[in-house]
């Protein structure tokens, strides 16, 4: 059955490369979103982290998926700074712990890893849905991925996750921020997309491309 096809190491490393490429490409867009309701450095910080983590991966070429994602998580924690560094760093570190020492993942194992990563975001940032954060895009995306692999193949599950993240991202425009620097604006954060939700949507779009 299609939904038991394993996700390979190559697909996952391609996912990371695609994230990195889109962060560099969308750097100005993310920074613009952040300037509207934050301090205007989200794109710069993530692009710096993505470039650093790709360089580390190229240099060390870890053989196993857990080592790969541990390296990425540690590099992000060590280079991004701000709130997004610990949040995305924790996401990938928990992802790595969940995966264990493997070179490929079943769709179920990938769903578990994404859920573990999401759990890391919850522990680190203590967000609620509707706070106008990364979580508003990531929670529906991870949920859609789980539902997707139960219904069909991993490629369509990843596409559904990317769509859910994009919907979650767009919905943050109608929310008043209650976490992070944007929360200081009160109602003035309305009408603006959350930059963290936007970078999360890029991440899941890259996953859909990598698993297509």
């Amino acid at each position: 059955m299609a939904n038991n096809v394993a996700v390979s190491y190559e697909q996952l490393i391609n996912w990371l490369r695609l994230i990195d490429e889109s962060l560099i490409e969308q750097r100005a867009y993310l920074t613009e979103l952040d300037a509207a309701i934050g301090d205007g450095d989200h794109g710069t910080n993530l692009a710096r982290g993505g470039t650093a983590s790709s360089a580390k991966v190229d240099a060390e070429q870890p053989e196993y998926i857990d080592d790969l994602f541990t390296l990425v998580g540690m590099t992000l924690v060590g280079t991004v700074g701000g709130a997004s560094g610990p949040l995305y760093g924790t996401f990938f570190l928990r992802f790595a712990t969940s995966v264990g020492h493997r070179q490929e993942l079943t769709p179920g194992q990938l769903a578990e890893a994404l859920e573990a990563g999401l759990g890391g975001i919850v522990d680190r940032g203590k967000p609620d849905l509707g706070d106008k954060t990364i979580y508003d895009a990531m929670e529906p995306a991870v949920r859609a991925f789980r539902a997707g692999i139960q219904a069909g193949d991993v490629a369509s599950a990843a596409r559904a996750a990317a769509d859910a993240a994009a919907t979650g991202r767009d919905a943050t425009a109608d929310l008043v921020a209650r976490k992070g620097r944007a929360s200081y604006l009160g109602d003035r954060s309305l009408g603006h997309i959350d930059p963290g939700a936007a970078s999360t949507a890029l991440m899941f779009d890259a996953l859909a491309t990598a698993l297509a």
Binding site: D39, G40, D41, V77, G82, A83, P86, R178, K179, R181
Partner: protein, 329 residues
């Protein structure tokens, strides 16, 4: 953007290089972007560490030295430092008596210091989060009050106490007491421009000002028409007095420039602010007027009022020798 820089990506590294040359009494770890005292405190004294995003100079590196911080960890501009930097500084300044982390209340700073503490096994660490900005009215639906001007006063007073050899629990309790007794409120005439983005973070019209800004060039609570210094002083002082009872006690008052406001205006503002405080029965026991917690090239100012007693005043007057504060020697 008009700035005295070479390349936007090198601003922090090159600024730390200059700091090291200008201040041989400091030691700069360029790889980790940490500023230490060249002469560490004696063994058995509590290490005092602070840090945060850069762009607020002299905060924090300018407060490293005798009677104040043992080290400052420098993040990228307006971006919290990372856990590995914080961990490195913590390990280096621990002389066995533990380390106090002084953290301004920003989501990123709190998370990165928290991760560093989780990684620092075997070192006693206390963390005090400073949240003094009364512009944040509703802390239930926000990330809580921001840490601003009171940070400088906490670093000074707690630094003096650590110098006396007080233990970690005492020093942390003192930090919490000082952080709880001070309030700040700021305003901006212009936004700040990050070297990496090249344009102002928000646009303020010629005849507008932003009241309740933080220190990251982020917009504040409300935009109002430009007013006189006397009116602005009232907009800053009133919310502070409403929020905390200063009860006719003496106070340390800081009139802080945001980076691009000349001293002549800061002193003018201080005159207005002190008159309002006097009217409210608050005696200005000590004062600081100048650029202490800046926001790059933002124009504007903030007011910080700290209620003090004789013990706190004694610690305030204790000798300090740092690039930005120096007296009593």
């Amino acid at each position: 953007m008009k700035k005295l820089i070479n390349d936007p990506a090198d601003v922090l590294a090159e600024s730390l290089f200059g700091l090291a040359v200008a201040h041989p009494e400091l030691r700069v770890d360029h790889a980790h972007r940490i500023v230490y005292r060249a002469d560490p405190k004696p063994h058995g004294t509590v290490g005092i560490l602070s840090g945060g995003g850069s762009g607020h100079e002299p905060l924090h590196a300018g407060y490293v030295g005798l009677g104040m911080l043992d080290a400052a960890v420098c993040g990228e501009i307006f971006t919290s430092p990372t856990p590995d930097q914080i961990l490195e500084a913590t390990k280096t300044i621990d002389t066995g008596a533990g380390v106090l982390h002084l953290v301004k209340n920003y989501t990123g700073d709190v998370m990165n210091f928290e991760m560093a503490t989780e990684l620092a096994s075997g070192i006693a660490i206390e963390t005090v989060v400073i949240a003094d900005d009364v512009a944040v009215e509703d802390s239930t639906y926000t990330a809580g009050r921001r840490g601003t001007g009171v940070t400088v006063l906490v670093e000074k007073i707690v630094g003096a106490a650590a110098e006396q050899g007080r233990d970690l629990a005492e020093v942390a309790a003192l930090a919490r007491r000082v952080a709880g007794a001070g309030r700040s409120m700021g305003m901006a005439l212009t936004s700040a421009t990050l070297p990496s983005s090249g344009k102002p973070n928000f646009e303020l019209g010629e005849s507008d000002m932003e009241v309740g800004v933080g220190i990251h060039g982020e917009p504040g609570r409300r935009r109002v028409p430009l007013a006189t210094a006397r009116e602005v002083a009232a907009m800053l002082v009133e919310p502070i007095l409403v929020d905390y009872s200063f009860n006719g006690e003496p106070a340390v008052v800081m009139l802080n420039g945001m980076g691009a406001t000349p001293l002549i205006e800061l002193y003018l503002m201080f005159g207005e602010v002190s008159a309002l405080l006097e009217k409210a029965g608050i005696r200005v026991a000590r004062s600081l007027v100048g650029n202490y917690v800046t926001s790059l090239d933002m124009a504007g100012c903030s007011v910080t009022v700290l209620r003090v007693d004789n013990e706190l005043l004694g610690l305030w007057d204790a000798p300090v020798s740092t690039p930005a504060l120096r007296w009593g020697l």
